[in-house]
């Protein structure tokens, strides 16, 4: 179980998260929705411990993430996979080395076995035969999918996806939604997905959480969210310009 307790975070005096609480059960597929710039990516980074909260704590299976360091942190992170919003592929490494990064670093597999596993992961995201390319040679959507392959390569127990379908064509987007759902159904992974795309949210979510005004204002099943009578949620899920959410 992942628990965010009373998280506060500010950057240069500007508060982004204020007293945020969220609970994610093991094996659950949680989708976090919210407006651009409201702190969704920051929330994900807190869960995996690459950002530290100013106050509050992050508990994963009752282990306080912020207190870990050294080899414990290493072992802890092995259970995680994360897809960054911008991909964050290593420029200096080829696609093979990117996707198989942890296999090269932390397993005793032979090069042939690693190649096989990497090809498998790339096939899952609809790519093949690009193992030797460098990230700079790929298109934006391809980079995103390679990054997705890297996140799932070690079959981690918990996967964080930061906008997996943004910048990808609708057909491929649906393939990726299916993939996330399938990982979750077959491997029982806990997944936390950030997205703006309500269609994909409904498809992959067990629960949807809405982040608004520095807090999680609602958590519910897709049906509950769809039929919510909270005007803020209604406006967001229908994508309407008129409503309580204004500005920008």
């Amino acid at each position: 179980m992942i628990e965010l307790r009373n998280i506060c975070k500010s950057f240069n005096g500007h508060k982004v998260l204020d007293d945020l609480n969220l609970k994610i059960e093991t094996g659950e597929s949680m989708v976090i929705i919210g407006r651009s710039g409201c702190g969704k990516s920051v929330t994900l980074k807190h869960i995996i411990g690459i950002m530290e909260p100013d106050a509050g704590s992050v508990l994963v299976d009752n282990i306080n993430v912020t207190k870990l360091n050294g080899q414990d942190l290493k072992k802890f992170r092995m259970n995680f996979g994360m897809l960054f919003q911008g991909g964050a592929l290593f420029d200096s490494l080829s696609v093979l080395e990117n996707v198989g990064f942890q296999l090269f670093e932390y397993s005793d597999l032979s090069l042939g076995e690693i190649r096989k596993r990497v090809a498998e992961c790339l096939a899952m995201v609809g790519l093949s035969g690009i193992e030797n390319a460098k990230p700079a040679e790929l298109s934006g959507g391809m980079k995103k999918r390679v990054a997705l392959a890297r996140a799932i390569c070690m079959s981690p127990e918990i996967i964080l996806f930061d906008e997996p379908t943004t910048g990808i064509d609708p057909i491929m987007g649906d393939v990726i939604n299916d993939l996330i759902r399938r990982l979750h159904d077959t491997l029982k992974t806990t997944s936390i997905t950030v997205t703006h795309d309500m269609k994909s949210a409904y498809k992959i979510a067990d629960k949807i959480a809405m982040l608004y005004n520095k807090k999680i204002i609602a958590v519910g099943t897709p049906d509950e969210i769809k039929n919510s009578d909270n005007p803020v949620i209604r406006q967001f899920v229908t994508g309407s310009a008129v409503g309580p959410i204004t500005g920008y």
Partner: protein, 268 residues
């Protein structure tokens, strides 16, 4: 009027104190990075390929410029000292002057400055770009410590290559002096060689190499620290790169002064 003067003096004191405080905070941050690097050198397996790659980038590709600069420095040293030495007919001491000043001082310092400008800047730019494009964070999520994966190979490569380049610089500087001394100043070959070696003690070489080891440490720590802590997109990386070169230069000169004084007092 008096109070104004007092205010200015208090302000300048405060300014200086602030600068000193900042310097120590920076030195502390570098010390922490040093401690983490040393920890990971022993705690992680050796990444042979990456270390060799960095050695190639730092050492092999810096060689031509080190060669050129030290050769010409040796020639200039010989020519400049010839003015004075010829007046007292002591041309043969030109050889000693060239060899001593190169091994003790110019070899290590010139090499360090070149490497800081050439490779330190490149390291900062590379790590800085990785930082601002979230690659450093991605590395952490792949359960790899950035210090372990990025800093340690560069640290080892610099610690090996800077002293080696220094030895090359010493050698080619002496060759430069030789070319001028024997070719233009009419010192005999045998005399030049003899006057190069006689005053040269092992301790001159060793102190030079100790200096160059410490310079290598400075270059690595400063350039990696600036890179890993850069923020604010391409502009921030640019700023970090400039800061890295300037700070390495200053620290190299400060360390040089420190070691020279230290060796002066303990070896007198």
């Amino acid at each position: 009027m008096l109070s104004f003067a007092r205010k200015v003096s208090i302000d300048s004191w405060r300014f200086t104190l602030n600068k000193i405080k900042k310097f120590f905070i920076y030195a502390g941050a570098l010390a922490i990075l040093l401690a983490r690097s040393i920890f990971w050198i022993f705690a992680s397996r050796a990444r042979k390929f990456q270390i060799l790659d960095q050695m190639n980038k730092i050492g092999v590709s810096s060689f031509p410029i080190i060669f050129l600069i030290s050769l010409f420095t040796g020639m200039v040293l010989a020519l400049q000292s010839a003015y004075q030495m010829q007046k007292v007919s002591a041309e043969m001491y030109i050889a000693s002057l060239v060899s001593l000043s190169l091994t003790r001082e110019l070899g290590p310092v010139l090499t360090a400055l070149i490497v800081a400008g050439r490779c330190g800047a490149a390291i900062t730019a590379e790590l800085g770009t990785m930082r601002v494009t979230e690659q450093v964070e991605a590395l952490e999520t792949l359960s790899t410590d950035p210090v372990e994966y990025l800093v340690v190979p560069r640290f080892i490569a610099l610690l090996v290559m800077v002293p080696l380049l220094t030895i090359c610089a010493d050698f080619f500087g002496i060759v430069g002096g030789y070319l001028i001394g024997v070719g233009k100043l009419n010192i005999s070959h045998a005399m030049y060689i003899k006057m190069t070696y006689t005053p040269l003690a092992i301790k001159d070489l060793v102190t030079g190499l100790i200096k160059s080891l410490s310079f290598a440490g400075i270059i690595c720590l400063v350039s990696c620290f600036e890179g890993l802590n850069s923020e604010g997109g391409a502009e921030g990386v640019g700023r970090a790169t400039t800061a890295s070169v300037v700070k390495s230069f200053v620290l190299i000169i400060v360390a040089d002064c420190f070691f020279t004084a230290l060796f002066y007092f303990i070896m007198r």
